[in-house]
Symmetry: C2
Subunit: 120 residues, 2 copies
Amino acid sequence: MTSLDQCFTALADPTRRAIVARLALGEATVQDLSRPFAISQPAISHHLKVLESAGLIETRVDGTARPRRLKPDAVQALWDWLGQYRALWEGQFQRLDAVLDELPDELAEPIDTKRGKGNP
Amino acid sequence: MTSLDQCFTALADPTRRAIVARLALGEATVQDLSRPFAISQPAISHHLKVLESAGLIETRVDGTARPRRLKPDAVQALWDWLGQYRALWEGQFQRLDAVLDELPDELAEPIDTKRGKGNP
DNA sequence: TCATTATATAAATAAATTCTTATATAATGG
DNA sequence: CCATTATATAAGAATTTATTTATATAATGA
């Protein structure tokens, strides 16, 4: 799974986006995050793990607490990906050259994205 | 499910991002898309439905064919959401006010994002 | 050291996702 | 109308995800 996969997957969940919204205000502990959500502490810990695996947040150690914060530079890959298509998507066909340069990586040959053997 | 949920979910799948990459070159039919992917036609049709439900692509009718194309203005919501956090994420704390304005919608009260009864 | 607090992990489960193959629908051209 | 082509839908299997409760680990402070 690419980092882009992980970022999009992480942000697809509304609970995780709300966690991100909270962290945009400053770092927060699992306790801080558990309070406003109708969700158990282990569930929060799991969501944090997903966000951290995607590189979107990071953890600091403070005694027994593990405050999380947004990780600098983390949205850059997302921003770049989106920016690449934005012009096209908006119906203006500038930057087609950039898209063309990028394409071979994804469309040069049959892409096997299936799950199962060899594609975990 | 919000449109933002659907957009992120749709783009989390690498096959669907590759479809988007292909559509950035111009409209394509299910046949066109089935060829370069090691995936069945019904699977392509399904991915297209996910992308269309998210508002990312649209369908044109041309005889028996149903060419798909990127839908103008579709990335705007994503771009806006990302832009809102980008500055913070990058470690510069401008635009905190904008984030604060947005927050009440998501954190004003305990958020029940659980699945199951009432939360399909 | 022991009780407390904060967090993580494990096990179980329900629901959603992503595929496949088989079949249905719908438009075209002879 | 009939055969063909393009696409959609159905049924079912395997995997993944989000959740819970129960328990483990780890740091603190009395």
